[in-house]
């Protein structure tokens, strides 16, 4: 799996991309693979504040629920409506169409602290 170079990654298997002060957050290919077939995604409403390191939602497969941790802090501007009706998209296209939330951030400071694609590649290589 090629993890997009311009994204950053967390140990909890989230990815973040940053553009014009808005971060887009999702879960990685590795995460959706571990979870199996996803049946439901629970996301916060826009306007909610998320805090780095704290849970903001969850992803459910038939047999497990996984919390999702905010990699950056800020205000949620959008939650991906696609996942409400088509949770399976998260398995099919976790890095693009199946992003989870968009967050307005105050700076790129937290983004820069996250893992690079190369480091994440090593991290998941080591885990499996």
């Amino acid at each position: 799996m090629n993890y997009p170079e311009n994204y950053r990654y967390t140990k909890e298997h989230e990815w973040v991309s940053l553009s014009g002060g808005v971060a887009t957050v999702g879960i990685t290919f590795h995460a959706q693979e571990e979870l199996g077939d996803i049946v439901y995604v629970d996301l916060p409403k826009s306007g909610t504040n998320v805090e780095k390191g704290k849970t903001f939602g969850s992803v459910e497969s038939v047999k497990a629920v996984s919390d999702i941790y905010a990699p950056v802090s800020g205000e949620v501007t959008e939650a991906n409506e696609l996942l409400a009706s088509n949770p399976e998209k998260l398995n099919e296209d976790p890095h693009n169409a199946a992003w989870l939330i968009r967050v307005k951030v105050s700076s790129d400071h937290e983004f820069k602290q996250l893992m690079s694609a190369a480091d994440y590649q090593i991290y998941v290589g080591a885990e499996s």
């Binding site: 077939d37 049946v39 399976e88």
Partner: protein
């Protein structure tokens, strides 16, 4: 290998009852009214009266009977054979219990009928309380909770009440990582933070870690003994000491009581409060998922907080005592699942003291027999004497790409219900097996034969195992589809 326990057979198909429905069919007959019939619209106002019960079925009595008889033939049951389910204690449900529970004076007793006309039902409760206290070695008991999980919640509420009375309810409850899921769920609902405590590599509670973690913010430790690995916590008294020294308590989940009856009593080894599962240890029927009953027994210091009312003696009669100012209140209406209590008492009468101990001996013997017979074929993460259940892991089979869940499904083709899959969580790919004392050597040998056959299939023809079950009228179901687009009721097309 050709299974010796089962062979194919025709089973009747049966649609949903709604699809058999037709206007005008009746399955009932009411007597003629001996009073004037009331027009509901006149008496209650037309707006309060429903026009009809939309889409409710209309079928005949024989259709109802055939419907359920056919459905029943699609189920596995203890009456058909062994359930090796760990921590479920699927023992025989004696039919004498069913008969006595239907005794008219017991089955038709109304909870509010005069006490003078309820001495029999109250006597049942009193006798069961006495027997369970003798078995657990504790001082007082409530039979009110409706099931194990309910009993757990009651137990933790009792702990909280006592600590509150002392001025500080505290904040945390400790649960081992091997605990059943109801334990942390209960602690959360009771308003506590849950803290996990890791097991040693022997699957026991880590005394050092425990001593480090227990402080004056810890209310209790929830423990199962024997553990969910089927192993007796031999340090249990030291565990209790650590908790008690900090003013905390030990709650015991009684799910594995089938290993202890007549051998050891929780009250003797430091437990402050515990729940029992009458539908496990005491043979009351599972009925496809309930009813159960989860009595909670306590040490003296917790007695004042027990749910109200309590059975008491007034002269030479039984009475309900509502004057319990420190009680946590009611955990449910009335007095408990009385019908289930009757069955448990009948079970205790049938076995008697010596018989109850024998049942435990047989249960532990059966589980150890399985451990020895299966260990050449399945990985044993904790290779030490077990009590009434044994836990294997699927490591050997996983190397060939076959996991515990798949082995379990293949077991169905051999005529058995699966064992408990993937629990406890501390064993990777767990197979948790509890035969109970009900099973004869013959049934156990058939089970062993089936498990060995499957282990061999994993080596030679893994696809057979991976795609199991093959022989059932319903094959593996699409659980993902059911969860993504839940359809939880029938609707007319």
């Amino acid at each position: 290998m050709i299974p010796t326990k089962v062979r194919s057979h025709l089973t009747q198909n049966e649609s949903l009852i709604f699809e058999r429905s037709s206007p005008g069919k009746k399955g009932y007959q009411l007597p003629a009214l001996d009073v004037p019939e009331v027009d509901p619209a006149e008496a209650l106002g037309a707006a309060s009266v429903r026009a009809t019960i939309e889409d409710f079925p209309e079928v005949s009595e024989v259709e109802v009977l055939r419907h359920f008889t056919r459905l029943s033939t699609w189920n596995y049951a203890i009456d058909l054979g062994m359930y090796p389910l760990g921590s479920c204690t699927m023992k025989y449900n004696p039919r004498i219990n069913e008969a006595v529970a239907r005794t008219e004076g017991l089955a038709w007793a109304h909870p509010y009928q005069p006490e003078s006309l309820s001495q029999g039902v109250m006597e049942v409760i009193a006798r069961l309380e006495e027997a369970l206290l003798e078995i657990t070695g504790l001082d007082a008991i409530t039979l009110q909770p409706a099931a194990g999980a309910h009993g757990e919640l009651t137990g933790i509420l009792l702990v909280r009440a006592l600590l509150e009375a002392q001025g500080n309810p505290r904040k945390r409850i400790l649960t081992p990582d091997s605990a059943h899921g109801t334990n942390p769920a209960t602690a959360g609902i009771a308003g506590y933070e849950v803290q996990n405590i890791h097991s040693t590599d022997q699957g026991m509670i880590d005394l050092e870690e425990l001593a480090r973690i227990v402080d004056s913010d810890v209310a209790a430790l929830m423990v199962t003994n024997p553990s969910t690995l089927g192993v007796f916590e031999d340090n249990i008294m030291k565990v209790a000491d650590i908790l008690h020294s900090k003013g905390a308590m030990v709650y015991m989940d009684g799910a594995n009581m089938n290993a202890l009856v007549g051998i050891a009593r929780p009250g003797d080894f430091g437990i402050d409060v515990m729940h029992l599962n009458l539908h496990k240890t005491f043979s009351t029927p599972h009925g496809g998922g309930g009813p159960g009953s989860g009595p909670v027994a306590v040490k003296k210091h917790l007695e004042p907080f027990l749910p109200v009312p309590r059975l008491a003696r007034k002269g030479d009669a039984w009475t309900w005592d509502y004057d319990r100012p420190q009680s946590i209140g009611r955990v449910r209406a009335f007095y408990g699942n009385f019908g289930v209590l009757v069955r448990a008492l009948a079970y205790i009468y049938a076995h008697g003291g010596p018989g109850l101990r024998n049942a435990t001996v047989d249960a532990v013997l059966n589980a150890n027999y399985l451990r020895h017979k299966l260990r050449p074929y399945f990985d044993l993460p904790y290779d030490r004497p077990n009590m009434h259940e044994v836990v294997f892991s699927d490591d050997r089979q996983a190397a060939k790409g076959v996991r515990t869940g798949e082995i379990a499904k293949r077991l169905i083709d051999y005529g058995f219900h699966p064992y408990t899959v993937s629990f406890p969580l501390i064993v990777h790919g767990a197979l948790m097996i509890e035969p109970t004392e009900t099973e004869s050597k013959r049934e156990l040998d058939q089970f062993v034969e089936a498990m060995i056959a499957i282990a061999k299939e994993v080596e030679t023809e893994p696809e057979t195992v991976l795609k199991a079950p093959h022989m059932t009228r319903t094959t593996k179901v699409d659980e993902v589809g059911a969860a993504r687009k839940p359809v939880v009721r029938w609707r007319p097309s």
